[in-house]
């Protein structure tokens, strides 16, 4: 197999920064992983030729790194964190739900080819436990955080993603709580979504609630994620 043009471009763009080609081995293998959802022996061979490395050396490196898969994965690879914060938040129930729903074990591909779930270690997203990332392979590879999960929400996300593709991985509302120790008289909430937990304050204008999140991450919700906007409106009214 020829190394795909995009990966050759990736290597060519960076090679001048390094004293040798070998330095790009792991980034190049990650590009294969993103494209194919795994690093096939053919892809490993192609990377080895491109970087002038022995095939065995490339295989030995692949076997060391957990993000480089040597088995086929589904269209979406779900990296589900099982380290303590997430385990405490309910990872085991999420994994059990997945295995029952699809009749496959972690690491296997669901029959419809859509999903593979892997239990991984801490994703540095511990405040959003239980946390996961969904990876959508291909030229337009993208990773999505899906965290603060409950079994019901996970089930819903899986169904909607299976039917609607990556667009269904939009940020969703999980719950709204009061922020502990509000700093002033404004209405402070603790907004929990499938992307993050935000301190935020709310104002009412023109019959709707406007949410200002402290991290400046939500942006113009009404434009960018009208469903989340609607979910927040409903929750704040209720």
């Amino acid at each position: 197999m020829e190394l795909p043009e995009s990966i050759r471009g990736f290597i060519a763009e960076r090679i001048s920064r390094y004293p040798n080609k070998k330095a790009l081995l792991i980034p190049a293998l990650m590009e294969c992983q993103k494209l194919f959802g795994q690093v096939t022996p053919e892809a490993a061979q192609a990377v080895a030729s491109e970087l002038d490395l022995p095939f065995a050396e490339v295989q030995s490196v692949i076997s060391f790194y957990t993000m480089l898969n040597r088995r086929p994965t589904g269209e979406f690879l779900i990296a589900m964190c099982g380290t303590w914060n997430c385990e405490h938040g309910g990872t085991a129930a999420l994994i059990e739900h997945f295995t029952k729903k699809y009749g496959v074990e972690p690491g296997e591909v669901t029959k419809d080819g859509k999903f593979t779930l892997l239990r991984v270690e801490c994703l540095a997203d511990c405040h959003n436990a239980p946390s996961s990332q969904f990876y959508h392979r291909g030229e337009d590879f993208k990773a999505y955080w899906v965290n603060n999960l409950t079994v019901e929400l996970f089930d819903q996300v899986l169904d909607e993603v299976a039917a609607g593709g990556p667009a269904a991985l939009r940020e969703r509302l999980v719950r709204i709580e009061d922020k502990a120790n509000p700093p002033d008289d404004r209405r402070w909430i603790w907004l929990v979504t499938t992307n993050s937990q935000y301190p935020a304050w709310v104002e009412q204008a023109g019959g709707e609630y406007i949410v200002h999140d402290a991290y400046g991450r939500l942006g113009d919700l009404k434009q960018e994620n009208p469903q989340l906007f609607a979910e927040i409106q409903a929750a704040l009214k209720g």
Partner: protein
């Protein structure tokens, strides 16, 4: 501002503001234009990013840079707390080069989530810090090793680097000064051990992430056997403020030995988990109660892990310990990466240790026997205890295994695996004993099948 206060002086805004990343009331400063227009170095300073690097490139020589960073007392934020300026001074001055800066963005220590937000919300602050650090010890190339899972951070930093090149900030003549400066984003592929500095170098060079023997220390022989400085993302992101606000801004804050500020990430059994920037020396209880919203109603504190999963558990009696390297050490733990994991009275310490042992057994690189075998044994013993097969002898057995790993492993991952378990069996033995009693009761109620068979 009084010593030992969380940075709260701008009302709530500064509660989650991260002075290191933006020092501004606006987060999400991702573009160069925004960084130049809006980013402040200290909350009370005036806006204007890249001002520090420009000043340093035009007017400040290498020795003065190191002196200033030493004077500010900036300590490494990745775990060990080693003074940054001192580390930089270890690079041989007469070395012909090339020399390298390798920025550690592996952020793998369970409980740690802070570097991610510097990368995502203020990438130019990191680039600016890297430029200053490189000039301090004569490097022209910075590599930022980002863990593979941080796809967003990688894309955002990559874009910021491109912008900086296009604007002539990076490249052959930064700010028109003849000091070429290159910055490269390099991805990992999922291995906690690659956060250990010498493993990270192996990984950047395209190898399995195995640690290397020290000495030679990386400052003398690192990447491609050239002098290499390894610093955490937050350490590097702290540097630019020194050249705007001056070293005293840091030494006026925190404690004498741990001056300045630190990002903490708080997770576990708190109402509002998240990350904040605090002065060193703030009591642990203040961070838990005032920043993270305290425990859930009706719960009691059981343990605090102050610096990520590698650190010993602290009992509630130590909740008021000032959060600085020396005080936390004195209390019997470590500040580590300032990843505070809070455990309340509903948490079973045996399950926590089972989980941690799973982590270290999975992440052990396998190079040395004490860690490779010891972490597996710790996992299997915890599995057996949880399955109802524990006996009081297991406490001694665990202590024995800990003793076989601690200070006998090739790299600090072994210690990191052993310390939490050591503290758990010593400080929370009653949690283990509950399992042993249950196991004993089970045997007594069903009879011992082995005895009957005999």
């Amino acid at each position: 501002m009084a010593k030992g206060n969380p940075i709260l002086q701008n009302g709530v805004i500064s509660e989650w503001i991260t002075p290191v990343t933006t020092l501004n009331n606006e987060l999400g400063i991702r573009s160069l234009a925004d960084y130049k227009a809006k980013a402040r170095y200290i909350p009370e300073g005036s806006p204007g990013g890249y001002r520090s690097a420009e000043k340093v490139y035009k007017d400040i020589d290498a020795e003065t840079i190191i002196e200033q960073v030493k004077a500010a007392g900036i300590r490494g934020k990745g775990g060990a707390g080693f003074p940054a300026g001192l580390k930089w001074s270890f690079v041989p001055k007469n070395h012909p080069g090339p020399k390298y800066l390798a920025i550690n963005a592996d952020e793998g220590e369970p409980g740690t989530f802070k570097d991610r937000f510097i990368l995502e919300d203020c990438p130019h602050r990191l680039i600016e810090g890297a430029m200053i650090a490189c000039k301090a010890f004569g490097a022209h190339d910075a590599f930022c090793y980002i863990r593979g899972e941080f796809y967003d951070a990688i894309a955002i930093l990559d874009r910021a680097v491109k912008e900086a090149y296009a604007a002539g900030i990076l490249g052959d003549k930064p700010f028109g000064v003849d000091y070429p400066m290159h910055f490269t984003v390099h991805t990992g592929a999922g291995a906690y051990i690659c956060g250990e500095e010498t493993s990270m170098l192996s990984s950047i060079m395209g190898e399995r992430g195995h640690p290397r023997m020290k000495p030679p220390f990386p400052a003398v022989e690192g990447l491609w056997r050239k002098p290499t400085i390894i610093n955490n993302v937050e350490t590097i992101a702290t540097v630019p403020a020194v050249f705007d606000a001056g070293p005293d801004w840091f030494t006026r804050r925190g404690t004498e030995k741990s001056p300045g500020i630190k990002l903490v990430s708080v997770s576990g059994c708190v109402r509002n988990p998240g990350w904040w920037e605090v002065e060193y020396g703030v009591p642990i209880s203040t961070i838990i109660d005032e920043l993270a919203g305290g425990l859930k109603p009706g719960r009691k504190l059981k343990a605090v892990i102050p610096g990520g999963s590698s650190c010993p558990l602290l009992q509630p009696a130590f909740a008021d310990t000032p959060f600085d390297y020396e005080s936390v050490m004195k209390a019997g733990s470590m500040l580590g990466s300032a990843a505070m994991i809070v455990l309340d009275d509903t948490v079973d310490i045996v399950k926590v240790m089972h989980n941690f042992s799973h982590f270290y057994a999975h992440e052990s690189c396998g190079k040395c026997t004490p860690c490779r075998e010891g972490t597996r044994w710790m996992l299997m013993i915890h599995e057996r205890i949880l399955a109802g097969g524990g006996s009081p002898a297991d406490l001694e057995l665990l202590k024995d295994i800990v003793n076989g790993i601690e200070a006998k492993s090739f790299c600090p991952l072994g210690d990191a695996a052993a310390w939490p378990v050591k503290s758990a069996v010593n400080r929370y033995a009653e949690d283990y004993e509950r399992y042993f009693k249950a196991a004993q009761a089970e045997i007594e109620s069903t009879g011992n099948p082995l005895a009957e068979a005999g």
